[in-house]
C-alpha cells in the first residue's frame, strides 16, 4: 500500500528539481509517439536540440518564441497564485494586440519614445479591462471565472476577425484580413541585425522582475498569496479579498495584453487572426512548470519555446508531425503535476494492515 505523508519542510532543491524531472519525463514519454511515427528517436531528439540551440539563428528564434510565453506565463502565474483562474490569456493577448494596432498604425504620429510607451499602455489597458469583466462577474455575481474567461476567448477572436475584415482592414492588404502595419516609430526594434529576437524580450524580462518584486516584497504580494491559500482566512484577517481579485485580474490581463503588443509590434508588424498559436493556453503550462514563481517563468518559457522551435525544425527534417510539440507541452503539464506531489509529500510504501482509528486520524 502506498501512503502520502506531508513533508514538514519543502527544500528548495526539491522545488527546483520538480520541473526539471517533469521536463525530462515529458521528453522521454515523447519517444513513444516519435517511434510510433516511424522516426529514429535518437536522431529526432538530436534534430530538436540542434533546431533549438544549434546556431545563433536558432537561439534567436527560441528567444523570440519565449518572449510572449514569458508574458502569458506571468499572467497565469499571478492569477493562479490568487486562485483566480484566468484561462483567458489568449483573448487578452488579442485585444492587447488590437489596441496596439489601433494606436500604433498611423493614427498618432510621434517619435518612438512616445509611441512605444503609448502602444504598451494601450495594450495593457485593453488586456486588463477585458479580464476585469470575468473578475467582476466572479466577485459581484459569483459566476465561475474558468468558464467565462474560456468562452470570452472565442468571442474576442471573432471580434478581432470582424475588425480585420471591417473597420481595421488594411486597404493596401491585397484583400487579406489583416490590419494596417505598425508604424516605424511604434515598432519594437530588433536586438541584432538579421535576427528576429526583439526588444519585447527585454520588456518580458523586466516584467518578470517587477512581478517577482511585487510578489515577494510588497504587501500586495502578501495579500495575493494569502487570498490564494485560503480565501475565508484571508477575509477574516481583514485582507480586502475582492479588491485583491480585481487588482490581480487587471495585472494578469495587462500582462497577457502586453504579450499581444510585443508580438504585433516586435515580430509580425501587423495583426492577423492567427497571431497567436495558443500562447495564452501555453502560458498556463509555463506557469505551472515554474511552480508559479515569476522568475521560474522565464526558465520554463525558454524550455517550452525550445520544444516548439526544436520540434518545428525536427519536423521539417524528419517528417514527424510538429503536433509532437503540443504533445510534449501537454505531457510536461501532467508530469509537473505528478512530480509536484513528491515535493509536498513523502511517498511511503507500507505493508497493508488493518486500519486503526488513530492512524486514520493522523492523515
Amino acid at each position: 500500500m502506498i501512503r502520502f505523508e506531508p513533508r514538514e519542510h519543502v527544500s528548495s532543491t526539491y522545488a527546483f528539481l520538480v520541473p526539471v524531472i517533469a521536463g525530462i519525463a515529458a521528453l522521454a514519454l515523447a519517444a513513444i509517439p516519435i517511434s510510433a511515427a516511424g522516426a529514429d528517436v535518437q536522431g529526432a531528439f538530436i534534430a530538436m536540440a540542434k533546431g533549438a540551440f544549434g546556431s545563433p539563428f536558432a537561439i534567436s528564434e527560441l528567444l523570440a518564441r519565449a518572449t510572449p510565453l514569458i508574458l502569458t506565463g506571468l499572467a497565469a502565474s499571478i492569477a493562479f497564485k490568487a486562485k483566480l483562474w484566468n484561462i483567458g490569456a489568449e483573448g487578452q493577448l488579442y485585444v492587447g494586440a488590437l489596441a496596439a494596432v489601433a494606436v500604433g498604425s498611423g493614427a498618432i504620429a510621434a517619435p518612438p519614445y512616445i509611441m512605444i510607451p503609448l502602444i504598451i499602455a494601450a495594450g495593457m489597458m485593453a488586456g486588463g479591462t477585458l479580464m476585469l469583466v470575468p473578475t467582476l462577474l466572479k466577485t459581484k455575481l459569483g459566476a465561475d471565472e474558468v468558464v467565462t474567461t474560456l468562452l470570452l476567448n472565442f468571442v474576442v477572436l471573432l471580434f478581432v476577425q470582424m475588425m480585420l475584415e471591417g473597420p481595421m482592414k488594411d486597404p493596401m492588404g491585397m484583400g487579406w484580413p489583416q490590419s494596417e502595419p505598425i508604424s516605424a516609430a511604434a515598432t519594437l526594434p530588433k536586438m541584432f541585425p538579421r535576427l528576429r529576437v526583439h526588444w519585447g524580450l527585454v520588456i518580458a524580462l523586466v516584467s518578470a522582475l517587477i512581478v517577482f518584486i511585487i510578489m515577494t516584497r510588497s504587501v500586495w504580494g502578501f495579500e495575493i498569496r494569502a487570498t490564494g491559500e485560503n480565501v475565508s482566512a484571508a477575509r477574516h484577517a481583514g485582507i480586502p479579498v475582492t479588491a485583491t481579485y480585481v487588482k490581480v485580474g487587471l495585472l494578469s490581463g495587462a500582462l497577457a495584453g502586453l504579450a499581444g503588443v510585443s508580438e504585433v509590434a516586435g515580430l509580425k508588424g501587423y495583426l492577423t487572426a492567427d497571431l497567436s498559436p495558443g500562447f495564452g493556453y501555453t502560458g498556463i503550462v509555463v506557469a505551472m512548470l515554474a511552480g508559479l514563481s515569476p522568475l521560474g517563468v522565464v526558465a520554463a518559457a525558454i524550455f517550452i519555446a525550445a520544444v516548439f522551435v526544436g520540434a518545428d525544425s525536427m519536423s521539417r527534417a524528419m517528417g514527424v508531425s510538429n503536433y509532437i510539440a503540443d504533445l510534449i507541452v501537454a505531457l510536461s503539464l501532467l508530469c509537473v503535476l505528478v512530480s509536484g506531489l513528491f515535493v509536498r509529500f513523502k511517498v511511503r510504501f507500507v505493508r497493508p494492515k488493518l486500519p486503526k482509528k488513530k492512524e486514520a486520524e493522523e492523515f
Partner: protein, 313 residues
C-alpha cells in the same frame, strides 16, 4: 411575420435538436462527473478524442456502432487519467482538467496527422443517416422535427432518461450523488469513494467523447482541426445552468440549439448588413449570460473540487 415562420417551421426544430445533440452528450457527461464531485475540464479535449477516434475507426473499416464504442472507450481512458490524477492523488481539478484537454487534443491531432500526412481534403466516411421511423416520421410537424434525426440523437435522448433514472432511482445513483456532497458519509457506508468517483469520471468522459463522435459520424462525415470550437466549454456552462439535473440539461441544450439554429437563419435573412462574426459570437455570449443568470443561486455539489483522502473526516 417571418421570424414567427422560422420558429414554427419543422426544419428549424430539426436543426435545433441536431445542434443540441453533441451538447446533450457533453452536458450529461460533465453532469455525472460533477455530481460525483469532480470538475472535468478535460471535456474540450475529450470531445476532440471522440471525434477523431470514432471517425478513424470507421475510416479504417469498422462499422459505425463499433466506431461509437471506440470513441466512448477512448474517452473513458482519458477520464481514467483525470480520475487518477484528481481522486487518489488529489491534484488540482482545474489544472489537471486543462492538462487533459491539451494532452487529448495533441494526441488526437498528432495521430491524425501521422496517419494521414499528406491529405489535402479530409477523407470522408459513410456517416449515420436519418432514421426513418415508420409511421412517426410521417406525422405532421413532429415527424420531420423529431423523427428524421440520426440514431445518435435518439441515443442522446435515451441517455437523458437512463442518467436520470440511474441518478435518482437506483442505489448506485444515490451513492454517486452522495460522493459529490459528502464523501465521508459514503465511506462510512463501506463504499469506495475512489471507486465511485473514478468510475463516474470515466463514464462521464465516455459520454463527452460521444458528443465529439456525433460531430464526425453524424453531423459531418469527416474530421477537421478545430471543429470542436469551444463546445466542451459551453457544456460546462450549461451544467450550471441545468443545476446538475439531466432533465434540465436536455432543456438547456435544446434551448441553446434553438438559439443557435435561429441565429443561423437570421444570418441568412439579414444577409450582409451585419458582420457574420456577430452571429457567431451569440452561442458563446449566450453561455456566459446563462451562467451569470443562475450563478447566485447555483447549488454546486458540496464536495465539488474537494479532494478526499481515505480515512479523512
Amino acid at each position: 411575420m417571418e421570424y414567427v415562420d422560422i420558429l414554427t417551421s419543422a426544419s428549424f426544430w430539426a436543426a435545433a435538436i441536431r445542434i443540441a445533440t453533441p451538447l446533450i452528450f457533453g452536458v450529461l457527461g460533465a453532469l455525472i462527473c460533477e455530481r460525483a464531485g469532480v470538475l472535468n475540464l478535460g471535456i474540450e479535449g475529450i470531445f476532440v478524442v471522440g471525434a477523431m477516434t470514432g471517425w478513424m475507426a470507421v475510416w479504417l473499416g469498422a462499422d459505425l456502432w463499433t466506431g461509437v464504442a471506440v470513441a466512448a472507450g477512448c474517452g473513458a481512458v482519458f477520464g481514467l487519467l483525470h480520475g487518477i490524477l484528481t481522486v487518489p492523488l488529489g491534484l488540482s481539478q482545474h489544472v489537471s482538467g486543462l492538462g487533459i484537454t491539451l494532452f487529448a487534443t495533441a494526441v488526437s491531432y498528432f495521430t491524425y496527422r501521422t496517419a494521414l500526412p499528406n491529405v489535402s481534403s479530409p477523407p470522408r466516411i459513410e456517416a449515420f443517416q436519418p432514421l426513418d421511423v415508420p409511421g412517426l416520421s410521417d406525422l405532421p410537424f413532429i415527424g420531420p422535427a423529431l423523427f428524421q434525426q440520426t440514431p445518435m440523437t435518439f441515443l442522446a435522448l435515451a441517455l437523458v432518461l437512463v442518467v436520470g433514472f440511474v441518478l435518482y432511482r437506483t442505489p448506485l445513483g444515490l451513492a454517486i450523488r452522495a460522493v459529490g456532497d459528502n464523501p465521508a458519509a459514503v465511506e462510512a457506508q463501506g463504499l469506495s469513494v475512489y471507486g465511485l468517483r473514478i468510475g463516474a469520471v470515466m463514464v462521464g468522459s465516455a459520454l463527452m467523447a460521444l458528443g465529439g463522435a456525433f460531430l464526425t459520424m453524424s453531423a459531418f462525415d469527416a474530421f477537421f482541426f478545430g471543429m470542436i470550437n469551444g463546445r466542451g466549454w459551453i457544456c460546462i456552462a450549461l451544467v450550471v445552468f441545468a443545476s446538475w439535473r439531466p432533465g434540465k440539461a436536455l432543456l438547456g441544450a435544446v434551448l441553446f440549439g434553438a438559439f443557435d439554429a435561429f441565429q443561423i437563419r437570421l444570418q441568412n435573412e439579414v444577409g450582409g448588413a451585419i458582420p457574420s462574426q456577430i452571429f457567431l459570437m451569440i452561442p458563446y455570449v449566450l453561455s456566459i449570460v446563462a451562467l451569470v443568470i443562475v450563478a447566485r443561486k447555483a447549488d454546486y455539489p458540496r464536495a465539488l473540487l474537494q479532494p478526499y483522502f481515505r480515512g479523512q473526516r
